[in-house]
Amino acid sequence: MKKYLPLIVLAVLAVLPLIGLSTYTMHMIILVIMWATVGMAWNLLAGYCGQVSFGHAAYFGVGAYTSGILYSHLNMSPWWGIPISIVVVTIFSFLLGLMVLRLRGPFFTLATLAMGEVMRVTAENLVWLTGGSTGILIRERTWIDKTHYYYIILAIAVVTFLVIKLLVRSKMGYYFMAIREDQDAAESLGINTTLYKTIALCISGALTGIAGAFYTNYMGYIDPEVVFALHDVSIVTIMIVMVGGVATLSGPFVGAAIMVLLAELVRSQLADLVRSMPSLGAAHQVFFGILLILIIIFLPNGIVGDFQKIKRMFRVGGACK
């Protein structure tokens, strides 16, 4: 049963648009799948290879801007951004890796945090290329209907899932995990840690970039504040995987569903309050913060990673009644 679960989920997702969901619901589901893709990409680098990045907005943003710049400067369809961003973001990740992968542990993390911010400021100031804070508007939308976008992001997510699933069970996956557990031990086992860390970074970056390119096409507008955002991209990505389950295949999906829906719930439920008190605009971030603290204390391996523990908790709770 457990073996077929991903196939069952996929089958359900494949027929989902046929049951006539509202545009709003479809939008939510598209966002969940997109964030799950970014989460899976981050999880490969951080969860499996142990290189915790606080700057995945850099790859997301470069992917998004690849699409945007192809459209605004070369008059190409922004959909070209999806294949082309693979090349662009891989090269970008490689160059970034030359700098940040020399660092270990928290030093690596802080360097990635800085790189994310550097990219945002760069995009704001390279006005001739990016349009600066004005952003890039895709004037001709391909489809009004959400269904096409839904199938495209679903395909991207499925490919990402399969790539990661194959990777983590191969030699490369073992090498990634060995590096995560102990870089010196890995090196002494004949593992070229620099090479394999670079590979993990490039794959993770490229997959994140594809999601970024999709974002440009789907939302039709990007600016540096949105696609290079520290909170709304880098941190949200980390939270998705932390909540769902680090180093699990399905964790990012669970995490993305919870995070996107929670953000939306808080936003819509508090909408009236927010209107009367503008300072409440970021209230959902308070909830996220509290949720993250609770997860770290009680479910350090996330919902998927600690599923047995959750089951046990409820069983104990039931027995007490």
Partner: protein
């Protein structure tokens, strides 16, 4: 040609000479013991041989090729594996996965890696613990896991850094048996050990260092009767 040649190695940490002008060779098939009081520079020497440190002066030759300056993973690929004194299991991976990760160095595919790993676990007596997450292993088995992981890279020369420290009597005997079996497979061994009885009984030759300098080299019998060695260990 000797399998490993350490040629005039010196290593300075700031003003401290952790090794000064050390030379010795290891012949194929032998067990070379490396002993010396705490802080003598034994582990530093290991770190130089397997590439974690670059020597300040001197060279290390493995199978006639200069290896100082290469990275540890390149040296491992050439056929030189090591264990760590402070054991470094891949904590959140099972015992089997630990060994599979290192077996991939020579294996062409996963099935072959699993085969090498299983065989190595049986050889080191860890096959009953193959599914245990290595964080939960007791020290004696962690030390064995270090050896198993190094063996799975199919080395010609194995550096063992205090693989016996902290073991109880029966574990000690098992480990000695494993070392003898490794030798019987034709793998050359260099071993750091504090346990005198063990090192005297298994080594073919012994090198003694103190304050970063080689003070003696010879058969266990010669070392036992060397006044310099006695002085280093017992004081004047």
């Amino acid at each position: 040609m000797s399998l490993l040649e350490v040629r005039n190695i010196s290593k300075l940490f700031g003003g401290l000479a952790a090794s000064s002008n050390i030379s010795f060779t290891i012949q194929k098939g032998e067990i070379l013991g490396l002993i010396g009081p705490n802080g003598a520079g034994k582990t530093t020497l290991f770190n130089i041989v397997d590439g974690f440190y670059a020597p300040t002066k001197g060279q290390v030759l493995f199978k006639g090729q200069v290896i100082s300056g290469l990275k540890p993973h390149q040296i491992c690929k050439l056929g030189l594996a090591r264990t760590f004194q402070v054991v470094k299991p891949l904590q959140r991976m099972s015992v089997l996965d630990n060994v599979i990760a290192s077996a991939f160095l020579r294996a062409k595919n996963k099935a072959e890696a699993v085969n090498i790993a299983m065989e190595t676990l049986r050889f080191t007596g860890l096959d009953a613990d193959q599914d245990v997450i290595s964080r939960g292993l007791p020290l004696g088995k962690r030390k064995k896991l270090e050896i198993a992981r190094a063996l799975a890279t199919q080395p010609e020369l194995l550096l063992l850094d205090e693989s016996f420290a902290g073991l109880n009597h029966s574990e000690l005997n098992e480990s000695i048996e494993i070392i003898r079996n490794i030798k019987a497979r034709g793998i050359t061994i260099m071993i750091i050990e504090h346990h005198m009885k063990v090192i005297m009984s298994i080594s073919d030759r012994i090198v003694v260092i103190n304050y970063g300098q080689k003070i003696a080299e010879g058969t266990p019998q010669e070392i036992r009767n060397n006044p310099l060695v006695v002085e280093a260990y017992l004081g004047e």
